[in-house]
């Protein structure tokens, strides 16, 4: 029981996740800055930001629905942390596992977006409302290719359980390479989920100030920031588990380092895309997702079905 609690709360649970999330934020910001020919923040900047925000006063708009406004960040944070527990990190099994957990993780990762929508909508600010409508609209565009991309890999492994998927790919050494198209699709859709450029439409600061987060301040905003950081880690860990399922039987320390390397690799891809692309308009984003990403995801599924039926 004690060991279980340690695993959930300290390592690799909440504490490790928060610390790693903050480190990943630093990594992302620093890389982004270096790619833009800037110096970038010092390593403790995300921690300092978080402490500063935690020390500040929560201002809740008088018109806002108080409960919804306060609960949305908590919902978002808990759901991303919960999702992390089902993802195999550096071993073949995760903390919890059952058949169908890949879907649970995907849906748990949808909850933050809905929570942002609710928080933004009930804060009654016009900018926040436009931002939240945008984030919901965006959800309908990227969610389908994201699911299709990630599930195409599961389809090949013939299991809805993340643990079984990793075991399957460990058995077939280089088979994960066929899923690279799926990885690209999932990564790009994932940018939409993280609301990062070119899909940072819901929080485009030159249009809608900070989108859903416009009215948030203090501790609640700190929770939202932490949620986004952790979402970045969880999403990258999910992509790493599904698309890079190799080296999972290495000795613990080596395996751990490999896991960190995988996550940082995915984060650097995200930073790179963020550096080289301009923000799209919401209509362009939706047509891009449905016109190009979904057909490509279908292609990946077809390839995987073919492989499964004919070769394996």
């Amino acid at each position: 029981m004690l060991e279980f609690l340690f695993k959930v709360i300290v390592f690799p649970g909440i504490f490790f996740l928060s610390a790693f999330g903050l480190f990943v934020e630093y990594f992302d910001r620093k890389l982004y800055a270096r790619l833009q020919n800037r110096i970038g923040p010092p390593w403790f900047q995300p921690v300092a930001d978080l402490i500063k925000l935690l020390a500040k006063e929560d201002v809740i708009p008088r018109e806002a629905n108080r409960n919804m406004f306060m609960m949305a960040p908590v919902f978002a944070l808990t759901s991303v942390i919960t999702a992390f527990l089902y993802i195999p990190l550096w071993k073949q099994n995760s903390l919890f596992s059952f058949n169908g957990d890949i879907l649970v993780v995907l849906y748990l990762l949808t909850i933050p977006t809905l929570a942002f929508f609710i928080g933004g909508w009930y804060s009654t600010s016009l900018y926040a409302r436009i931002g939240s409508v945008r984030s919901l609209t965006q959800l309908f565009a990227y969610e389908v290719p994201l699911f299709m991309g990630i599930l195409s890999s599961a389809l090949l492994a013939d299991s809805w359980s993340l643990k079984d998927i990793t075991i399957f790919y460990a058995k077939h050494n280089w088979l994960w390479l066929v899923n690279l198209l799926g990885f690209a699709i999932a990564l790009v859709s994932f940018l939409g989920k993280l609301e990062k450029a070119p899909f940072d439409i819901p929080e485009a600061e030159t249009e809608v100030v900070a989108g859903c987060f416009t009215e948030y301040s203090g501790r609640l905003f700190a929770l939202l920031r932490l949620t986004l950081d952790i979402e970045m880690v969880v999403g990258s860990a999910l992509l790493a588990a599904v698309f890079f399922p190799f080296g999972l039987s290495l000795p613990p320390l080596l395996g751990f380092l490999l896991f960190i390397a995988k996550v940082l690799f995915i984060i650097s891809l995200i930073s790179l895309l963020r550096t080289i692309l301009a923000r799209l308009r919401i209509d362009q984003m939706i047509s891009f997702c449905w016109k190009y990403m979904v057909p490509l995801a279908l292609l990946q599924i077809l390839v995987n079905l073919f492989l499964k039926g004919v070769i394996l």
Binding site: T124, I130, R279
Partner: protein, 411 residues
């Protein structure tokens, strides 16, 4: 938000998309813009009036501060008008140095614009890169004039500082670097898919509309209007230099970007010619302290478009009237037209595409009666009464004090 599907959101006076306070009230239906109300006047500083209170020499530095970016444009424009009234013959070398500073200023302004445009469409990398390269030209300006902005280079009858052969070499070297970087930006701006997606077809102003709405500068030139004071009505040394007026027929924000980056290349060409032809001789003539009565209108192609200054002299050492028409005032009317039936996401870039400089533009302040949607403007006695009542409500009453003051002032 009320229940009808159309609602208004305020972009400004304070908003991250705007670098200066200006109010755009946008009527939205979903993401679509149904109408825009523009209110100017948040940056009114009373410069025209202040200019009447100061001598001509003081006015140079006051008018230089009309704008932080095209400061040389405004001061040159003003000085040209004064020189015309005083019939001063400005030495050739001074003309060339003015042209040189003007083109360096255009480079710094256009690079700044490129960065701002990148930021407005969420492409911060372009912002960081172009502003980094802008430092090169800022350093050159600082070497030549001592200041990065508000150069203080002009004086009535010439310029205040000379250029040494050493500095000429430095400028040439900087121009080479900038030219190479600009070629890269032209490539980025014309080939990067997401940039093109965000810029083309946005903020369209046809050739006829540009003429009808009186657009100036790159905004007009991007709609195919060949209008450039440097070529149409040459001032300073432009008459002796060879350059092209860049026009484009895209008529949209993409066209405006293309015009600006290509104008950068023309500026490098002009600077090289200026440095090659730079004549010897004095850099200024002595100006009379008292300017004879008369009036003059002066035109100048600022980076943002045609700048117009009108000066009326009454035979004293202070001007009787100074009127400034900044290019943004001509262009801001076009914004409303550009935003018709566009999306909210296009709003920042469409506003930015005219390269607005609102503090140059603001010539008056209109104070509306509070809590009224109508355009009722306060009269002076009404505003006075309103202020007294406002303080009374706060518990501050000056009526007794005023009475005492009046009694004491009685003879």
């Amino acid at each position: 938000m009320h229940n009808s599907d159309e609602f208004r959101i305020p972009i400004g006076p304070q908003h991250p998309a705007l670098k200066e306070p200006e109010s755009f009230s946008v009527a939205l239906k979903g993401e679509k813009i149904m109408g825009v109300d523009i209110r100017l006047g948040y940056n009114h500083r009373g410069i025209e009036k202040a200019a009447e209170e100061r001598t001509y020499v003081q006015d140079i530095y006051l008018i230089e501060r009309v704008c932080g970016i095209c400061s040389h444009a405004h001061s040159t424009c003003f000085i040209q008008a004064v020189e015309e009234i005083a019939k001063l013959a400005v030495p050739k070398r001074a003309q060339y140095i003015r042209t040189l500073i003007a083109e360096l200023e255009r480079i710094h302004s256009h690079l700044l614009w490129l960065g701002v445009a990148g930021h407005e469409i969420g492409f911060d990398t372009l912002l960081m890169y172009s502003w980094r390269d802008r430092e090169v030209v800022m350093d050159i300006l600082a070497i030549l004039t001592g200041n990065r902005v508000n150069y203080g280079m002009n004086t009535i009858g010439g310029v205040r500082r000379d250029i040494s052969p050493d500095q000429v070499q430095q400028i040439l070297k900087a121009v080479d670097t900038l030219e190479e970087r600009t070629k890269y930006y032209i490539e980025v701006a014309t080939e990067e898919t997401t940039i093109i997606k965000r810029l083309s077809g946005v903020g369209v102003v046809s050739y006829d509309d540009a003429l009808r709405l009186d657009a100036v500068g790159p905004t007009a030139r991007a709609s195919g209007v060949r209008r450039d004071v440097r070529a149409d009505d040459p001032y300073a040394a432009y008459g002796e230099l060879d350059f092209n007026v860049i026009t484009d027929d895209h008529c949209d924000v993409y066209g405006r970007t293309v015009v600006r980056v290509k104008e950068l290349m023309e500026s490098y060409k002009i600077i090289r010619q200026v440095l090659k032809k730079l004549p010897d001789g004095p850099i200024s003539v002595r100006m009379p302290r008292i300017i004879p009565a008369g009036e003059a209108l002066s035109r100048y192609e600022a980076p943002r478009g045609e700048d117009v200054h009108y000066v009326q002299a009454n035979g004293t050492d202070k001007p009787a009237r100074v009127k400034i028409r900044a290019p943004t005032l001509a262009n801001v009317q076009v914004v409303k037209h550009m935003l018709k039936d566009r999306y909210l996401a296009d709003m920042p870039i469409v506003i930015a595409a005219i390269d607005p400089c609102f503090s140059c533009t603001d010539r008056l302040i209109a104070i509306k009666e509070p809590d009224s949607e109508s355009a009722n403007i306060f009269t002076w006695p009404a505003l006075h009464k309103y202020s007294i009542d406002w303080y009374k409500n706060k518990g501050i009453d000056f009526t007794q004090l005023n009475k005492k003051l009046e009694e004491r002032l009685k003879p």
